[in-house]
């Protein structure tokens, strides 16, 4: 029997019978099934399937809110299965703050469509429904769940220690693996004596090319066996700072305009030469950033096993489907024979894209014929994961008589194109990303190169304001047209009391990934070292889908950014990393944490941008600006106050 409009929730779930699997179909694409998205169980529990990962940024709770909102059910009735290549659709990697702009709409549409379908379907209709995805979703003015600060769905499991992370999984008969690492960063294996290790009862030694690893029944036995292996390596020398930055220039590849990419590498307008010719005041400065480590508090780990279904690996990944593909390639098996079962991740910050630990566990499991777990040590995390690229940034600028910027030449060597677009109205500019050779393995890091590019741009703006004899806030506002960014600056300045206190202070602003933000900081100098005492930050990414989670992300990004700004640096010599330990690689602690006021500018009617990354970009230039006011010294290299 057809259901009348306005059926109650209870009626829907009775209708669902033994359970209903909802598969959204993309109209206009030959009716392509997007994969199983929602399961509706008889008791009324709705399970969402998503390929996204929970890294601590709140994606699980946010996506559950989307389902609850659109299906008109409480969040407590929603379960979320994430990042399992055997059960979830591929929603792309969990990076670039894309969950909010890309996955939220997909999930909301699927849930809204499921709601409509349940309202109109007949009981005898199938267990599995393919539904069109074009259904109107809930207007922001009517939100009851979205836009509210729903608590983390995992909260209770987190505070009771029940939430399982990568290294917490076990399999029956599981062994433990350990990889023998080279004694230098760039090294080739020349000799290897594994006899002593192989004499230890029940130890399996694997040697393939440069890879040496062991598997044993206990972690202790694996450690002893690895230590018993005598390997000789031939090392290649690494270029170290300051020669590193010259090397970047020597190997630089000039950018070619390309707008079919998320981060265009070359942005130009007018003529920089003409602008410079007309300028009456010229300035040039060079900024550098060192390599830094993600240092996620959870070292990476995975369990792998082989059986009649092929290879299964279990552990947290930011890119589960990408890792599955890499594993299939490495073992020359079809992707259908590889499954990655993800789990919630003990933080990643862009550092857990790769297949490393999965590959190691899978190799050892294959050789041992048993499930094998590999857990990286803290030292392995610091040395053998990839790091945030070092950067050399050269800026040349020119101002007119009345203190307006008329020319801007901005070149980032090695670190990336994210954050290149200028928020300021400047008639002539060249902003380019010049690829270069990097001695250390480098990769994604929270907000990518936007940290480096924002640091150099905002630090340079501060210098130009001084040269023009203008207040840095007024100088920026004169060069801005974007009303949201202007409001972010003005509201932060007012809350901070800019220009009123006696303590040295600084500020910076940014428009990154559609997040509009300004940050003001007050500092205290202790010799050469600087301590942040008070921070005010405004942030506007459109609608705040979960305001409390958003505040938590912003505060966390400021604190994380403080580390890279003031003291983080992966130090290395010609052969190896010199500080692979929390004793020598300093990260922010309680004692480094300033008082932080976050002002959210919540624009309910504006489609939200992702916000987990970009708030990290403004603390470093604001601190550099404050240090200048305290000392009269322009510090143009991060970290600003090492030690």
């Amino acid at each position: 029997m057809a259901r009348r409009a306005g059926s109650t929730r209870r009626e829907w779930f009775e209708l669902a019978g033994a359970g209903l699997l909802v598969q959204p179909v993309l109209e206009g694409a030959g009716g392509a099934v997007l994969g199983s998205r929602l399961h509706i169980a008889p008791g009324g529990i709705v399970t969402l399937f998503t390929g996204k990962s929970e890294l601590g940024q709140g994606s699980r709770t946010l996506l559950a809110q989307c389902v609850a909102e659109e299906m008109r059910i409480p969040v407590s009735q929603v379960r979320v299965v994430m990042a399992d290549t055997g059960r979830t659709p591929d929603d792309g990697g969990t990076f670039a703050s894309l969950t909010t702009p890309q996955t939220v709409p997909v999930v909301r549409q699927a849930a809204a469509a499921a709601r409509e379908m349940l309202r109109t379907m007949k009981p005898e209709e199938a267990m599995l429904r393919e539904i069109p995805v074009q259904v109107k979703w809930t207007d922001p003015g009517e939100w009851r769940v979205l836009g509210s600060s729903v608590k983390n769905l995992n909260g209770r499991d987190i505070v009771t220690g029940r939430l399982k992370y990568s290294a917490d999984w076990k399999r029956p008969g599981m062994w433990h693996g350990k990889v023998v690492r080279p004694d230098a960063y760039q090294a080739e294996l020349t000799e290897c004596d594994t006899a002593a290790a192989e004499r230890i009862l029940g130890v399996k030694v694997v040697r393939e090319g440069n890879f040496i690893g062991v598997a044993a029944p206990t972690a202790a036995a694996a450690e002893s066996a690895a230590a018993a292996i005598r390997a000789k390596w031939k090392a290649r020398d690494l270029v170290t700072p300051p020669a590193l930055y010259e090397r970047f220039k020597q190997t630089a590849v000039p950018p070619v305009a390309n707008f079919n990419t998320r981060y265009p590498p070359l942005l130009e307008k007018g003529s920089v030469a003409a602008g410079m010719a007309e300028a009456v005041r010229k300035h040039s400065a060079t900024y550098t950033l060192p390599y830094i480590a993600h240092a996620p508090i959870e070292p990476r780990a995975a369990v792998a096993w082989w059986d009649e279904n092929g290879l299964t690996v279990q552990g947290a990944s930011q890119v589960p489907f990408g890792v599955r593909k890499q594993l299939a390639g490495a073992f020359q098996i079809p992707e259908s024979k590889v499954r990655l079962i993800g789990c919630d991740c003990g933080s990643a910050f862009g550092g857990k894209h790769g297949p490393e630990v999965f590959l190691e566990a899978a190799r050892l499991a294959k050789a041992a014929g048993k499930p094998v777990r590999v857990v990286w040590s803290r030292q392995e995390e610091f040395v053998w994961s990839y790091c945030r690229p070092a950067a050399l940034i050269e800026v040349q600028s020119g101002m007119s008589q009345d203190g307006r910027i008329v020319a801007w030449d901005f070149r980032n060597y090695n670190s990336g194109a994210a954050g290149l677009p200028l928020p300021y109205a400047i008639p002539n500019y060249h902003c380019g990303f010049y690829r270069a050779d990097s001695p250390l393995r480098q990769g994604s890091y929270r907000s990518l190169a936007a940290v480096a590019n924002t640091f150099a741009r905002e630090a340079h703006m501060d210098e130009l304001a001084s040269l023009a004899g203008q207040d840095p806030v007024a100088f920026r506002l004169r060069h801005l047209e974007n009303p949201r960014l202007k409001e972010a600056i003005e509201r932060a300045a007012e809350k901070f009391g800019w220009g009123k206190g006696n303590q040295p202070s600084g500020m910076a602003c940014n428009l990154e990934k559609n997040g509009h933000m300004a940050l003001f900081v007050e500092i205290e100098m202790e010799g050469r070292a600087a301590r942040a005492r008070r921070v005010v930050m405004t942030f506007d990414c459109g609608a705040a889908l979960n305001p409390d989670h958003l505040r938590n992300q912003i505060t966390g990004a400021i604190i994380m950014g403080l580390g890279g700004a003031l003291f983080e640096e992966l130090r290395y010599d010609a052969k190896k990393v010199l500080n692979p330990s929390f004793a020598r690689y300093r990260v922010p602690r309680f004692s480094d944490t300033p008082r932080i006021d976050v002002i959210l500018i919540d624009r309910r009617e504006i489609t939200p941008a992702g916000a987990g990354e970009s708030p990290i970009t403004v603390i470093a230039p604001a601190l550099a600006s404050a240090i200048f006011r305290a000392t009269g010294e322009r510090r143009r290299s991060l970290p600003l106050a090492p030690g």
Binding site: L55, G56, Q57, G58, K151, N152, N154, G155, R156, D157, I158, V159, T160, G161, R162, L163, K164, Y165, A167, D168, K170, T218, A219, A220, A295, P296, I297, E298, P299, D344, C345, G346, S347, F349, V375, S377, R378, D548, H549, N552, Q553, T555, G556, A557, I558, I559, M560, S581, F582, A583, V587, P588, R589, F590, S591, T593, R595, I596
Partner: protein
């Protein structure tokens, strides 16, 4: 291999381990108590903090022989059945975590602090927890949670 009797969360366990095996390894691998986390393995991040006779101790830097007859309390033993400890409640109330990996260690340290200093000043909380790293940067909320637990009340 030597055998040890361990009192963990009020229950006696007998384990076989080398005398220099860490308490952390025994808890996680032999007793399946994985709530205690390994963040660095060298006593520098606080993630593995447990209570030994009521005082905070780093399980990665404590050998099984050192534990002897002392009572070990881990995050799994803190709640009374389904009733959470006030510090756990306060962490939930303040949403004092993101990824949650450092949370068990933070909670155990806060429990130890509040046993000796029921009404700590903010500076005392910062000093007591300064050996703990939260890479997500939730420090201000953790301070708030400890204050909340000290007040024995709810926020707002």
């Amino acid at each position: 291999m030597p055998r040890f009797r361990l009192n963990v969360n009020g229950k006696m366990h007998e384990v076989e381990a080398e005398a220099d095996a860490t308490l952390l390894g025994v808890l996680r691998d032999q007793l399946d108590l994985t709530g205690t986390k390994e963040g660095c393995g060298e006593g520098l991040c606080g993630a593995c903090t447990v209570l030994l006779d009521g005082r905070a101790a780093l399980a990665c830097a404590t050998t099984i022989a050192e534990v002897k007859n002392r009572a070990v309390l881990t995050i799994e033993g803190l709640a009374q059945k389904e009733r959470l400890h006030p510090v756990q409640e306060a962490f939930l109330e303040a949403s004092a975590f993101q990824c949650g990996f450092c949370t068990p260690g933070m909670i155990m340290e806060a429990v130890a602090l509040l046993r000796t200093r029921p009404k700590p000043e903010e500076g005392e909380i910062r000093r007591a927890l300064d050996g703990h790293i939260c890479r997500c940067g939730t420090y201000p909320r953790i301070i708030q949670a400890v204050q909340l637990a000290a007040k024995g009340g709810r926020r707002g």
